[in-house]
């Protein structure tokens, strides 16, 4: 039985799609059977970040409406055979997604995968609420910056009231993932501290992803950063976060791409 995880944030541009791809690939790399589902109807991008944009035939709405079977719409990753993508529709109206339809697709996926990761659209409207509706756990992607923290707070409010779990009186499991963390700016006191973010949102931390040019490089070539350059700081942070999701106790560190003295002296590339 799969665990359904929603990757959400409220605010746009904080790294939901990057995170969905990176965590999905990290889990699949460790042998888990993973489906990543793009809920951003009309503005799909997960296909692009995964490099599967030319292989999309059917999409989530086709499956919801019974036009295609789930197995026809799922795209198997070319690099990882346990990673699958269910793309969003690029053309249809987002109202085509119904509560009931999404429920039945998620239910079918629960039986087939270890993880179903739902990439939420930005905002707090219907699309975002449907993406979180049937989740067991939520990954709240937050930048250490005022507007992102505020929006995360709104999303936490929705997770605690509008999800199926919340309506049944159960607790949805919530994790904060800090992304685009700039260690130098943080050390100069220009970024809200991690402790302050966690304290304000009163939600536990899953990981800290450092700002890294490897993230952009990976999306340019259509490969999750955890596959494209697993040794990079961002990838290592995502790999650790994925292990924590599986229940492993991994010490919380902020990986760095900065070269050590040895590398500086001999001009070697940091591992």
């Amino acid at each position: 039985m799969a665990k359904v995880l929603v990757v959400t944030s409220g605010k746009g541009g904080v790294g939901k799609t990057t995170t969905t791809a990176a965590i999905g690939a990290a889990l699949a790399r460790s042998g888990q059977k993973v489906a990543v589902v793009d809920f951003d109807v009309g503005l799909r991008n997960l296909d692009l970040v995964l490099g599967a944009e030319r292989r999309v035939v059917f999409d989530l709405i086709n499956v919801v409406q019974g036009v295609a079977k789930l197995s026809q719409a799922l795209i198997r990753d070319k690099r990882l055979e346990t990673l699958f993508l269910l793309p969003a529709s690029q053309t249809r109206d987002k109202d085509a997604l119904t509560d009931h339809g999404v429920a039945s697709v998620i239910k079918e996926m629960r039986g087939r995968f270890d993880w179903v990761i739902c990439d939420s659209p930005a905002g707090i409207e219907r699309g975002a609420q449907l993406a979180m509706r049937f989740a067991d756990a939520a990954l709240i992607v937050t930048n250490p910056e005022v507007s992102s923290v505020r929006d995360s707070d709104r999303i936490i409010g929705l997770l605690d009231s509008k999800t199926e779990k919340a309506e049944k009186g159960q607790q949805i499991e919530k994790h904060i993932l800090i992304t685009r963390y700039d260690m130098q700016r943080a050390s100069r006191g220009e970024m809200i501290g991690i402790d302050d973010v966690l304290d304000i949102l009163s939600t536990p931390l899953l990981g800290i992803i450092p700002e890294s040019e490897e993230v952009l490089r990976a999306s340019n070539v259509g490969s999750p950063v955890t596959l494209n350059n697993p040794a990079s700081a961002a990838a290592r942070a995502y790999l650790d976060a994925a292990r924590r999701l599986r229940g492993e106790a991994v010490p919380m560190t902020i990986p760095s791409d900065r070269k050590g003295l040895f590398d500086k002296l001999f001009g070697r590339r940091a591992a």
């Binding site: 005022v146 707070d153 943080a186 006191g189 220009e190």
Partner: protein
């Protein structure tokens, strides 16, 4: 000069934290209140329309939050006396 720059920089993250704490405590309170308002509005409308013929759009329910006291304001526009139904009819 450098010392003051350093001091100012260090404070910007602290300012962000304080602003957020104040804003969010206000927004969280307002969030619960939105639900309460909707509930109050529905029950007040139900109670009033049992006895008086009024348009739903003519009933306004508002809560004003003050420092010491909050006020609940109910504004109902009744078209004309004929709108009031005789009791028991």
């Amino acid at each position: 000069m450098r010392f003051f720059n350093l001091f100012r920089r260090r404070r910007s993250a602290g300012v962000a934290r304080e602003r957020l704490q104040i804003l969010l405590s206000y927004e969280r309170a307002a969030r619960g209140q939105a639900d309460l308002l909707a509930l109050l509005r529905e029950e007040i409308i139900a109670g009033i329309t049992k006895h008086v013929k009024v348009e739903r759009d003519h009933i306004h329910v508002r809560v004003e939050r003050g420092q010491a006291v909050s006020t609940l304001e109910i504004d109902i526009a009744i078209p004309h006396p004929a709108g009031i139904l005789a009791a028991g009819s």
